[in-house]
Amino acid sequence: MSTSGKRGMLGLALVIPSFLILFVVVILPILYAVRESLIDQNSGEFGLGNYIRLFTDPAMRKNITYTLNVTIVSTLLSLLISYSMAVYLRFSTSWMARWINRLYFVPMFVPGVIATYGLITLYGNHGWMVRLLLLLGIDSFPKIIYDYNGLVLANLWFNIPFATMLLSSALAAVPNSVIESARDAGANIWQLFFRFILPLSYKTMWVAITFIFMGIIGSFTAPFLIGANSPQVLGVAMQQVFSNYQETHTSSAMAVFMFLLCSVMGYFYIRTMGKDADV
């Protein structure tokens, strides 16, 4: 009893520092933000006033749908592109695949601000693309920077490398032997993909979706630099409400709302992981 009691104490002692850090750095701020968000910005009373305004104010509603739109579209596009790329890298032995394999993660080493300015230089109104097309005699160029398209483009730039890396490692874990025996049984390329490769990597796909989604929904730098003035993504809108209008409580409500959105993703993520642990 005494030894097991001692061991229990030791275990507790080992956990306490990390728990304290977690408490101070994560849990406390969340609780603080929740409390702040419940104090009405206008009346100073305790209640759901901030939230009600968040979902009734037309501009804010627009921001929310816009954010969800950008996030979901960017997430799905990133996933689609990185999954295709990962599959290609996993099964192709061409020199092209080898080069892509060496280069695809380079964007991860470019700081966000620099990358964003890079996009502006490339795709802006007077950017290289426009001038290049002009040389070729084409003078109509879609508006990319300061628009929805530009945001999606930036999100792709920031998320594809990481997602590809994640999915590549998942696909690397699909053994060749499984593919071989599937082909031996007569599976054609589609059956191979949908019955073997996809089921054996969808778990990591959820991880990728979760991380991309969370990264994009809370993104600030790129939307701040190349987003439109209206509507805005929540991150930028929140900054404005906080700094320009100095409405701490409203911005807290927005933060809590974003946190809830991410929690939903987190819930699905944990559920998927848990399900596989059961099997």
Partner: protein
């Protein structure tokens, strides 16, 4: 062996005009990996309903041959025909072969039931039919209770049996088995061998079986291909391979054998004080040679022309005893019936004789 040799010769020439068309025909297959290992000049005809075993030590190229047949390796040269049609440019999924892989290769995300049913499903079999076939196959490999389990929940031997059932269900023209019983215990292995033989006689399925277990090869094969360092060392019936090993390698690899250094003068071979007459079929040139005699072909004797030695050990193994004899600088092993063994003890001087032997010239091999 003579017959087998004739067969091999025909393959090199015009194999097409055989009396029966071979189910599987491998012609001068070569596959050398970048590392320099691989197989060279493999030629083999497997008749319909025949079970041919590739036998050889680890790394001799058995799996390489099998994977080439299955379509997982592209040969450097040579041809592979199934029912007279070259399959060389068919991908694995189009080849009429099914393989039991050395590492089982079950699909971890599917239950045993689904593992077995998959091949039938994509062949568009009826649902009830699939259900029935799968149940039958599971019974066959004694795993009826495992249908709902995942491969990760099975032992190695169980997984191996599922892999066998999965391949059998595909009813291929040629079934390729890569050491399919290696993970089973002795009793189950025996049962599975019998089961496999039974399936074969029942269905007439053609099988190429890989093993490094010579006992297994001897017991289930119609013919054995002994491989060594990427080449075919001998191709013949089990009986023939056992009785007339074609090379020193085969002699020492198949079964237990006593090897004795000896000297040939062209007509006679002298081993210690015993001189034996060479028979007509094997002519060993003058010089050093090796005599190979099976333990069961040695006997204790009073004959004058025999080997003199002393017993070192008598080991009773069931109904017979294994006797080790130190005999003119050689260690010999022989079997004697148990009653006779009772009269033997270590240190005892004995005389050993033999009639059946195989001689290998050291010059040629």
């Amino acid at each position: 062996m003579v017959q087998a040799q004739r067969k091999m010769q025909t393959q090199v020439g015009t194999a097409e005009q055989g009396d029966t068309e071979a189910q599987l025909s491998i012609r001068n297959l070569s596959k050398i990996f970048k590392t320099g290992d691989g197989v060279t000049d493999i030629s083999l005809d497997v008749q319909p309903g025949e079970m041919v075993t590739l036998l050889g030590p680890s790394g001799c190229g058995k799996t390489t041959v099998l994977r080439s047949i299955g379509g997982f390796l592209e040969p450097d040269s040579g041809d592979i025909l199934i029912r007279g049609r070259s399959v060389l440019n068919l991908p694995p999924e189009k080849r009429p072969t099914a393989m039991v892989f050395q590492s089982y290769n079950l699909w971890p995300h599917m239950t045993v039931q689904d593992n077995l049913a998959f091949g039938l499903k994509i062949r568009k079999r009826k649902k009830v039919e699939i259900e029935r076939s799968v149940t039958e196959a599971l019974e066959l490999v004694q795993l009826s209770g495992a249908a709902r389990k995942y491969p990760g929940e099975l032992s190695g031997g169980q997984q191996q049996r599922v892999a066998l059932a999965r391949a059998l269900l595909l009813q291929p023209d040629v079934l390729l088995l890569d050491e399919p019983f290696s993970a089973l215990d002795a009793k189950l292995r025996m049962e599975m061998r019998e089961e496999l033989r039974e399936i074969q006689t029942k269905t007439g399925m053609t099988m190429v079986f890989v093993t490094h277990d010579q006992e297994e090869a001897l017991s289930i094969s119609d013919r054995i291909v002994v491989m060594h360092a990427g080449k075919i060392e001998q191709l013949s019936t089990p009986q023939d391979i056992y009785d007339r090993p074609g090379s020193l390698f085969v002699a020492s690899f198949i079964g237990r054998i006593n090897l004795m250094r000896s000297i040939s003068d062209g007509q006679h071979i002298a081993v210690g004080s015993k001189v034996v007459q060479q028979d007509g079929s094997t002519s060993i040139p003058a010089g050093a040679c090796t005599l190979a005699v099976r333990p069961e072909d040695l006997y204790l004797t009073g004959e004058p022309d025999s080997l003199e030695g002393t017993i070192r050990q008598v080991m009773v193994l069931g109904h017979y005893a294994e006797v080790s004899i130190h005999c003119e600088q050689e260690h010999l092993k022989m079997f004697v019936p148990r009653e006779q063994a009772a009269e033997l003890h270590s240190g005892q001087a004995v005389k050993v004789g033999f009639h059946k032997f195989t001689a290998f010239s050291e010059v040629s091999s």
